[in-house]
Assembly symmetry: C2
Homo-oligomer: 335 residues x 2
DNA sequence: TTTGCTTATGCAAACGATTTCGGAAAAACA
DNA sequence: TGTTTTTCCGAAATCGTTTGCATAAGCAAA
């Protein structure tokens, strides 16, 4: 079965393809009767304009490119859900790629989607991304770009984020309120904005409570479980045992959690622990872990709304603007 | 900044566009020197063939359409992750839509992707889908289609599923091994394939253990929490108290769980309970619930592998074949 | 009758790549 | 020298739609 084309309709009605095109697009200088004939036949033949042919002329599509580190992570899949929902209601579809935290793959994906002429991008960058040339190429071509959660900060693009510093400060303050005093922080890659902001929040909370900021209690690493495990391991080996830990994210917290268990220490009695992102696993473990919940679905919705507005209003987006969401602390038994 | 085209290269080298095309595609009847010149200039100008122009000629794309009920659900997002991974390594991108369990939206999405000329479809149907005309349209156009998890059974298409009967049998056998003898089953809509299969597994397990199959212990209902609640309520009112329950899915199990709690009965001492699907909530409740975990990521990978093979080998797919995965029992404290 | 204007439509180019057909030039052969 | 074969390349059509320009018909005013 072939798809009906505009020329099929033209032939049947013995008129030209251009007239059919104009009739279907309601051009004013087409006779009403012709228009009706065309539209009726189009409906009868189940005509649907070929979006590929259209795209070739217009050099754009009704597709939004979405690039995230990993689709299956709660936070991202929920955000994608929100993006799709908004996109659907505006007549867009979404092309979804995952970088698997690899810079190279992020670049490849970005280029692939760019060459597929997606109308705009919604991106959360990989952990290993420190160079933003592939995103700059989008801005150069005036392709709308919205970051969410993990933004590439050196570029003038809009980002949808939570207030990492504020939420982190709240999480650490919670620890302080529960009576913990020697609070360690397991940070992420120092180049990453979320690492910086969460570290900042940690320090702010300590300052507000007049607690000392001790460098030996601040550990840098990656964003994986193994990094949290390693940081905790180092503390134990150095015999620097904090009474609480605030981790840059949930995997790191889980890694520390494991090492704490292995050391025979009790959570939360010996050491309390707070993660970040409210990953599923944090509630599965025993004891369930206190963490910060990000409004992922809503952030996805918002990112899509902004992007679509940029696409449709052809707004240039050379402003470094942040849409900031509130994140809520989920208190569980680990504190 | 404009994208380089094949004619840009042709003009610079004072040759024809056709020669450039052939050089880039390594046609044998192009002079080696010409080929090299073309390739070098292409690289220098950062040339990338326009996939839209290609698609217009070939009437196909390197895009796979994925339609699921809800992206953010654990099972589906994990499956999508698996699909994307395989797709990426084969040079495909994925267009993801969610039906939100709405038949209408599933139809709209299917048509939209079909008209966008996706190379193939991977679909898990919505709960409300009873008519398969939109999928039949794909088969008519020889567009490859693979179902996963929830298949539309009346069509000759490949499906990637788990062995519901076998997994159910294993779950019930687990109950028997733990010493439970009066095991009830809360089934789903009798018309649904998963209901039939899971009921079958329940019966098989009882037979193997030489336990009687009692109709009063088999309750039919929907797939929602309220249905599980109602079934449990009925049992209590009839004073038929089982010592264990195997529910058709997690929501039904959760409903029963609530009613059991309200009745002041203890889980697992008075009544044990097993769900199906390993929904997030099953591990959050107290006590955490034993359930059946489906290998979502692997099922996604497999579905993508099959689909891509169909696409590339242009295999017709008029066979109703099932790829069956093993589902694993996740034992928690509710049993 | 000529000129000018409106209305409705067609022609052809364009988007960028691929592909069929064929031809010129060079090489090989008689 | 003449004929055939090979090598290399170009012209043009094609995919389906949009759009600038041309034009025919009809009618009114001069």
């Amino acid at each position: 079965m072939r798809n009906t084309t505009i020329t099929d309709i033209a032939k049947k009605l013995k008129i030209s393809a251009s007239t059919v095109s104009r009739a279907l697009n309601d051009y004013p200088d087409i006779n009403e009767e012709t228009k009706n004939q065309v539209k009726m036949l189009a409906k009868k033949l189940n005509y649907w304009p070929n979006p590929i042919a259209r795209s070739l002329k217009s050099n754009r599509t009704n597709v939004i490119g979405v690039i995230v580190p990993e689709i299956k992570h709660d936070f991202f899949s929920s955000a994608i859900s929100g993006i799709e929902e908004v996109a659907y209601h505006s007549g867009y579809t979404i092309l979804v790629c995952q970088s698997n935290e690899s810079y190279d793959r992020e670049v490849i994906n970005t280029n692939a989607l760019m060459h597929q002429r997606v109308a705009g991008f919604i991106v959360s960058i990989s952990q290993s991304t420190t160079n933003g040339d592939h995103f700059k190429a989008l801005l150069d071509r005036k392709i709308p770009l919205v970051f969410f959660d993990r933004a590439f900060d050196q570029l003038p693009a809009i980002k949808v984020v939570i207030d990492d510093a504020k939420s982190s400060c709240r999480a650490v303050t919670h620890l302080i309120e529960r009576g913990y005093k020697k609070i360690a922080h397991f940070s992420g890659p120092i180049a990453m904005e979320i690492s910086k902001q969460r570290l900042k929040g940690y320090k702010n909370a300590l300052k507000k409570a007049n607690l000392p900021i001790l460098n030996e209690l601040i550990r840098y690493g990656g964003l994986q479980e193994s990094d949290g495990y390693a940081s905790m391991d180092a503390l134990i080996k150095e015999n620097v045992i904090p009474d609480a830990i605030f981790a840059v994210n949930d995997p790191v917290a889980i890694g520390a959690f494991q090492r704490i268990n292995e050391a025979g220490l009790k959570i939360p009695d010996d050491i309390a622990i707070v993660g970040f992102s409210n990953n599923k696993i944090t509630s599965l473990i025993e004891p369930p872990m206190t963490t910060v919940n990000q409004p992922s679905y809503e952030m996805g919705e918002k990112a899509a709304e902004i992007l679509i507005e940029m696409i449709e209003k052809k707004k240039t987006h050379n402003e470094n603007k942040a849409i900031v969401f509130e994140a809520e602390l989920v208190v569980r038994k680990s504190t």
